[in-house]
């Protein structure tokens, strides 16, 4: 009964979030300066084609209708047409980069999990030790320092090492594994730092919990306590942390793809800023926002499944 109520509430807020995202992106596009049809037509400016194109792009309808049309289009996978590549659907242009961005993002998340989680757990297990203090400072630094600074440092190191004759990693392009190294390392920075710190605090909390002390009192060894009880319950917030982590990775990909010229959606979007191709930027923003929302929903579902307390409350 309560579960159903919970699901309904979740769905309602999801719908609201989706509405917000589409509404905000639509408003920005609607208010965008310049006349796209004029820009497209350029030299051949006859009133009939102008009117026809305006109608084709739906620009002659009232804004509310344009919005609903926009949403319906999004649901169908129609993100409008590019201004720069006359008439080509934005979806077609954007989808060229989706695979690459997804690969890059997932790799970065994987790296954060592999590094961030263990560091956080060990730091919690040895709370107060030098390792704990040091690692948390390092993690805070990695989290706070902007990714392009890290990219710059790595590039500087590369250039110097390369001059000294050492083989180097490519700083642009995408392809086999060697192209992945630098972008993934840089992109995973923020989420690694965040995960490490959050894991540490959650594990600490759980270690303190009553039921742990009970287990200890009953004679369970510290190791067993850690693994059996603390970790399983710590897993829950980890699932929740994946939401913001995905957000860091998604926003970070904008920078990383452009600094390292990885042909993903972030790269396409920034290049389209130069061409004033607003539908493309708009659509990429929308897609990335939706990705984050989707991951948050999945994390929520996983959270509900993992924590029995939620289900019965």
């Amino acid at each position: 009964m309560f579960f159903a109520q919970f699901v309904v509430r979740r769905l309602a807020s999801l719908v609201f979030v989706l509405f917000s995202i589409t509404f905000l992106t639509f408003i920005v596009g609607y208010l965008a300066p310049g006349d796209p049809v004029q820009a497209m037509m350029g030299a051949h400016r006859d009133p009939d084609t102008y009117a026809r194109l305006r109608h084709e792009y739906g620009l002659d309808r009232p804004w509310l209708e344009q919005y609903t049309g926009y949403v319906k289009g999004v649901l169908r996978g129609d993100l409008g047409k590019s201004y720069r590549y006359a008439g080509r659907p934005v979806w077609e242009l954007v989808q060229q980069g989706m695979g690459t961005s997804a690969a890059l993002g997932l790799a970065a998340l994987a790296v954060s999990l592999v590094i961030g989680l263990p560091v956080g757990v060990i730091a919690a297990a040895r709370a107060g030790s030098t390792f704990d203090r040091l690692s948390m400072i390092v993690m805070l630094a990695i989290f706070s320092i902007p990714s392009f600074v890290i990219a710059g440092v790595l590039q500087i190191a590369q250039v110097t090492l390369f001059k000294a004759g050492l083989p180097n990693l490519p700083t642009s392009g995408w392809g086999e594994l060697r192209f992945w190294v630098l972008p993934v390392v840089v992109l995973s920075g923020a989420s690694t730092g965040y995960m490490a710190r959050l894991t540490r605090s959650t594990v600490l909390e759980t270690l303190d919990a009553d039921y742990i002390r009970t287990a200890r009192a009953k004679g369970a060894t510290p190791g067993r306590v850690l693994v059996r009880h603390a970790l399983r319950n710590a897993l829950i917030p980890i699932v929740t942390v994946l939401g913001p982590s995905v957000a860091f990775v998604v926003v970070g990909s904008f920078v990383v793809e452009n600094v390292f010229r990885v042909p993903g959606v972030g790269f396409i979007a920034v290049q389209s800023i130069g061409t004033r191709d607003y539908p493309v930027i708009q659509s990429v923003t929308l897609l990335l926002a939706l990705t984050v929302v989707l991951m948050n929903v999945l994390a929520d579902v996983a959270y509900t499944m993992l924590d029995p307390r939620i289900r019965t409350t």
Binding site: L24, G128, F148, V250, I281, T285, A289
Partner: protein, 277 residues
């Protein structure tokens, strides 16, 4: 040395570094009067020298002067954005928590709507779409206002949420402490009891937020969406310097270092404040 002594030292160190940076940004241009926009074509991409203490960039512009200018932009934007976030965010959060009902509903929905957008994306979208026309219309100042505005829009909801939560829990105590029967009005309740207790949270939140705003402005600068020449954004300086990193890597290093120090000192201060709050 025990933990809290170390913590205190860290706090003092970070706060002093931050203070130095602020002083540099505000007073720097009056002491070091080299024009950051002046192109000294005889000294392109120079290494540090007497004429250019930190070297010069691709157009021969003095790096130290540009750093100071960029710092000013970063801090100015951070200040404007935080001011907005605190005033609007905390204000709305307070109102939502205190008055509840319709006000709460509207504020919370507005905040939720903006929350839906992950971090910087909305700021990038706004700056990208409106940047050029705002710049053409209102010049450099206009552009920076747009950048500040876009960062502020995505910044106030979090503040509002924190303050709303705090207000809700304080509301109970406040009513107990000074009962309605005594005729205490809304203003007195808010001013005397709620506001002072919320202030701590606001300060900590704002400080933690500043780091994000500074990085946000630098990221927008990196993408070419923030200050345009002759104004400087640390992010843009870094982006431009990437172009000749193989010739003079110091030009990437200096603005990166400045940005890192700024961000870290703010983060540490905020972190320490949070631990004490």
């Amino acid at each position: 040395m025990n933990a809290s002594r170390l913590d205190r030292r860290a706090l003092i160190l970070s706060a002093s570094v931050l203070g130095v940076l602020i002083v540099l940004a505000v007073l720097g241009p009056f002491i070091y009067t080299v024009d950051p926009a002046h192109a000294d074509v005889n000294n392109l991409r120079a290494w540090p020298s007497a004429a250019h203490p930190l070297g010069s960039d691709d157009l021969g512009r003095d790096t130290l002067a540009r750093l100071l200018s960029g710092l000013r932009v970063s801090l100015a934007v951070a200040f404007v954005v935080e001011a907005f976030t605190v005033i609007v965010g905390a204000g709305l959060g307070l109102a939502a928590g205190y008055f509840g009902g319709l006000v709460d509903f509207l504020v919370s929905r507005a905040a939720d709507m903006l929350f839906a957008f992950p971090g910087l994306l909305l700021a990038i979208l706004i700056s990208a779409v409106f940047g050029a026309s705002v710049g053409a219309f209102a010049g450099g100042a206009g552009r920076l206002l747009l950048v500040s505005g876009s960062l502020a829009i995505v910044g106030w909801p979090l503040m509002a949420r924190y303050v709303r939560g705090q207000t809700l829990s304080l509301k109970e105590r406040a009513f107990i402490e000074s009962t309605r029967a005594l005729g205490a009005g809304d203003g007195e309740l808010i001013g005397r009891h709620i506001l002072p207790n919320v202030l701590g949270l606001v300060i900590v939140s704002a400080t933690l937020d500043v780091a994000g705003v500074v990085v946000g402005e630098a990221t927008l600068g990196l993408l070419g969406l923030s200050a345009q020449p002759p104004q400087t954004s640390l992010g843009k300086m870094i982006a431009e310097a990437f172009r000749y990193i193989t010739l003079n890597w110091l030009q990437v290093f200096f603005p990166s270092l400045a940005l890192t120090i700024l961000v870290l000192s703010v983060s540490f201060v905020g972190d320490e404040l949070r631990k004490r709050a």
